[in-house]
């Protein structure tokens, strides 16, 4: 199978997944117990508001027609109207998107900066003490509640030592860089265990290759071998791991944004929970579902494009 037909097949498989993502988010409203409009409105519910919401969500129509309307609106970029702000959800998402993208990119960079040296350290001598330490210590990160770790960093490094701003997004590039450091670090720490593990494994894999033996025989010094020969070849799998774990990464940003009061999509969703803003929650879930599908596609395609050794006959 050729390169192009792989990409084409991948695109075709995308269609049922995308449809499924819309079906799940569409049906969320029907999972609400009782009369959805009454439950969503809570104390604001009276016959007039309920009828208005029924009409807005299309709940007064047959199911198939409701879904069709949902898709029709979707293709016109219409994600509905926020029940709390009264503005269009798509404009809310697009105004909150930059902060989230910043946080995601910053966290990914920090995760790589932490993971690469640690993984190299571990892989440089397999089964030595340093290898065991690097394998076990990051396990702490797996059970770390992001919101709690954020609160702790905020209190000690922010409020007490005044090293970093406690909340907010900052302004300008350096402002963002400074304000977002603690939140990005919080998100990155959760990602490091996964990243270190796969980097270490792929570096050990490369270390066993014949060209490494050749380089060693040639007398290439250890650190140079690691950086020039091993790391270069181990980075592609690491980037793939980042791409595959984009959902995990996004999940981390959700509550961290809330803790650090960053005006991103995560805090938009969490605030929507407190405001019982159903349309925003539904749309953010849909948005993230589509985002993950697209990032996974890009990861696959990038992997194929970057690594000429990838074969398709498996």
């Amino acid at each position: 199978m050729g390169r192009m037909s792989f990409v084409f097949r991948r695109l075709v498989l995308l269609v049922p997944t995308a449809i499924g993502v819309t079906i799940i988010t569409f049906f969320m409203v029907h999972l609400i117990p009782g009369n959805p409009a009454v439950t969503i409105l809570g104390q604001r519910a009276n016959p007039t508001t309920v009828a208005a919401l029924d009409k807005q969500l299309g709940l007064d129509k047959p199911l198939i027609e409701q879904y069709w309307l949902f898709i029709d609106h979707l293709f016109h970029g219409n994600l509905g109207t926020s029940l709390y702000y009264g503005t269009s959800v798509s404009s809310l998402i697009s105004s909150h998107l930059p902060a989230t993208l910043w946080l995601l990119a910053y966290a990914a960079v920090i995760a790589i900066v932490i993971s690469v040296p640690l993984a190299s350290l571990a892989a440089s001598r397999k089964d030595a003490v340093r290898d065991h330490v690097v394998r076990v210590v990051p396990l702490l990160g797996l059970g770390l509640p992001a919101f709690w770790f954020g609160l702790i960093l905020q209190t000690w490094l922010g409020t007490k030592l005044r090293l970093f701003p406690v909340t907010g997004y900052g302004s300008g590039f350096t402002g963002h860089l400074q304000s977002m450091f603690l939140p990005a670090l919080t998100v990155a720490v959760a990602l490091c265990p996964v990243l270190i593990r796969s980097l270490r494994a792929s570096m050990l894999n490369v270390l066993g290759a014949e060209f490494i033996t050749t380089a060693r025989a040639k007398g290439v010094p250890g650190y140079r071998l690691l950086v020039r020969h091993v790391l270069r070849n181990a980075v592609i799998p690491a980037v793939t791991v980042l791409g595959i774990n984009i959902g995990y990464l996004i999940g981390g940003t959700l509550i961290v944004e809330q803790v650090f009061a960053i005006p991103g999509i995560g805090s938009l969703m969490i605030n929507a929970i407190f405001q019982r803003d159903f349309t925003v929650i539904q749309s953010v879930a849909l948005f993230y579902g589509v985002l993950v599908v697209l990032v996974n596609l890009l990861t696959d395609v990038a992997y194929v494009a970057l690594d000429p050794r990838v074969r398709f006959d498996a």
Binding site: W148, G251, I255
Partner: protein
């Protein structure tokens, strides 16, 4: 000849000794596996502390004493002080652990069972059954775990039952993928072909012959999955969607204490540490088990 298989001592018989070797080394090795052992010891300590709470504290976790709010560490017999409503923090930590661990165990068993059933069907029958199931898996995997769980708990309403439903609805896919992969390979082995030609029913082949051989991978995965579930439960409780007050749980304790972080830092810090240590214990067990199975089978 009869002595050969029963008694391993006479060395000249190579074949029984070789066959017995992996089993014996696996048995001998489990307690020499440092990560597994550390994890198990930690977990036993945590379970003991949570479930022997009445022995470790005489305070009731939910008794308010508004005359003694926000006591410091060790004051008036309160080991970890009291919270803003005068409730003993140490008692709430222990009883809260019971609540979180119980929810976490149920929230890992349900997706485990569902995932294994669905994954076995996909792996064993293949064809269109497999195609449909794997497309559904693709769809669920598309959503970030936390996004879908939070959204589902929001629409289903707060509390334990919603957490079980939400985590099961999202979590089964990993078990389904693992089981399907293993069964796709295992079903071509001779013992399965023998069972099939013997006329056994598909249900019997899957449950009695295939699953015992392929379930270990899912068990190992469950250890890391339960860590993620604990995080989800604590996070939901922190957001007010999970365990409802006045019941103590580590998430609500963290959220209640965050207003006093600069003065009573332990109110938020200690429940968080409890989560981290529990997570570490389970991760170590998962890691150790994975290592054990790798070396045991190689």
């Amino acid at each position: 000849m009869s002595a050969l298989s029963a008694d391993p001592a006479p060395a000249p018989a190579p074949s029984p000794a070789v066959a017995a070797a992996p089993v014996r080394s696996r048995r001998a090795r489990w307690y020499r596996q440092p990560t597994l052992l550390t994890g198990l010891v930690l977990l036993v300590i945590i379970l003991f502390m949570c479930y022997a709470a009445p022995l470790l504290t005489s305070f009731n976790p939910n008794t308010q004493n508004l005359e003694e709010p926000l006591l410091g560490l060790g004051q008036m017999g309160h080991l970890l002080g009291t919270d803003q409503e005068g409730r003993d923090t140490w008692a709430r930590l222990l009883y809260g652990g019971q609540v979180d661990l119980r929810i976490a165990v149920i929230a890992v068993i349900l997706p485990f069972i569902l995932g294994i059933i669905v994954g076995s069907l996909a792996g064993y029958f293949g064809g269109w059954v497999d195609a449909i199931i794997m497309r559904i898996v693709d769809i669920v995997v598309a959503f970030p775990f936390f996004v879908l769980v939070i959204a589902l708990v929001f629409v289903l309403g707060t509390g334990g039952k919603s957490i079980y439903i939400a985590i099961t609805a999202v979590g089964w896919v990993s078990y389904a993928r693992i089981t399907r992969g293993e069964i796709t390979v295992a079903k071509r082995q001779e013992y399965v072909l023998a069972a099939q030609s013997g006329g056994l029913s598909s249900v019997r082949i899957i449950t009695r012959h295939l699953l015992p051989n392929v379930i270990t991978q899912s068990v190992v995965y469950a250890m890391s999955d339960i860590v993620q579930d604990i995080l989800a439960i604590v996070t939901l409780s922190y957001l007010g969607l999970g365990v409802q007050p006045p019941t103590a749980d580590w998430g609500t304790m963290i959220s209640a204490g965050q207003n006093f972080l600069t003065t009573q830092w332990w109110l938020t810090t200690i429940p968080g540490i409890a989560v981290v240590i529990t997570g570490l214990a389970l991760s170590l067990i998962g890691d150790g088990l994975a290592d054990l199975l790798r070396t045991g089978t190689s």
